[in-house]
Symmetry: C2
Subunit: 209 residues, 2 copies
């Protein structure tokens, strides 16, 4: 009995040591990467893919920047007449919002009108992309405007390349154009594994919008 | 000259009509899905995968809920001593934060201490998972606590299943356990396409943390 207790204690100690060694290795890896990463610059982050959470992540970044006292602005390229909880909170915290004039593009079904609305929103975005006082700019659902040829790709690339060196930009939306992805510093693809909506669950105020 | 102009106008009109027909079809599909989705319930959303944007998306959801005047709470299972911009903003807006006692688990390298800290945070989470007044609960980076066996999977599943029917819960972190994914209503996997950090760019205040 004594012996088996002793054995167990010995095994537990070995396990604890192995755990410690493993964690030390992880920490060394993380530390080395942090030491190597010394450049500071404005990041272009693209959140694309068909899964839920892209825009929400963009708004979370805006909340973070504002929480640090930085200046953030949002241009929303697709938003219907749905209420927007993020906007209530973030506008109250001093974030400038610009929302494209029409609703969902698949509701208006008028290419000329949509193109005009997209261009107006984009021209506003271009001004913000020249404004050094803006630390973070969220271009929410911009990708669709490029896919639908409402806004020229070249014009988007030029404005992004010429923005202030320290300005962070986040672009969200499905099927981001390859050339924007190439220009980006960080790209995450949000993939849907499953979605409540497809199981017959309604979009709910405060959670989905 | 007249004729070719006429032809061009005719082609443009055909294009506009095709565009309209295409958009109408998209709208019909969306409308049909909205009509079919009528159930209202608390959603369990899992944001997993190795890409950037999971926690940020969780915090964006919290901002949205608070913007609609709902009650939200956050339990953070891994956070070091880094400043937290989201917390500044969201605590100011009335969000309850509970942050696990130790820093990154790969910094403490002490399994017993980490397990204790994880259990304390989890017990707090369990209370929130029984509180009907909480509309949205973010369990940030919970997945690691399960992977490291700091918190029992069964205990997590039980608390999630028995929570108030209308309570939304968001779980973030890499490598979410299969059984939590099975229980979830919506699961997004955030995959890294590229990351600025690996190109030698430093994590920056207001953007990365």
């Amino acid at each position: 009995m004594m012996d088996s207790n002793k054995d167990e204690n010995h095994i537990d100690e070995q396990k604890a040591q192995r755990h410690k060694a493993r964690q030390q290795k992880v920490k060394q890896g993380v530390d080395a990467k942090i030491a190597a990463a010394q450049e500071e610059k404005g990041i272009l982050l693209v959140l694309t893919g068909n899964g839920k959470g892209k825009s929400t992540s963009g708004f979370g970044s805006v909340a973070r920047a504002v929480g640090h006292g930085q200046k953030a602005a949002v241009v929303q390229f697709i938003k219907g007449t749905w209420a927007c909880g993020e906007r209530n909170l973030l506008e109250g915290a001093g974030v400038e919002f610009h929302v494209m004039g029409t609703g969902f593009t698949w509701e208006t079904q008028d290419k000329e009108k949509d193109t005009k609305a997209a261009m107006e929103a984009w021209e506003h975005a271009e001004k913000l992309l020249q404004d050094e006082s803006v630390n973070l700019l969220l271009l929410d659902e911009l990708t669709y405007m490029v896919s639908y040829h409402y806004i020229e790709l070249e014009r988007v690339l030029t404005a992004l390349k010429n923005r202030p060196a320290m300005q962070h930009v986040i672009i969200t939306g499905r099927a981001c154009h390859r050339e924007i992805i190439e220009l980006a510093d960080t790209v995450s693809e949000v993939q849907p594994i499953k979605h409540a909506f497809n199981a017959g669950i309604k979009a709910q105020l405060g959670f989905d919008y």
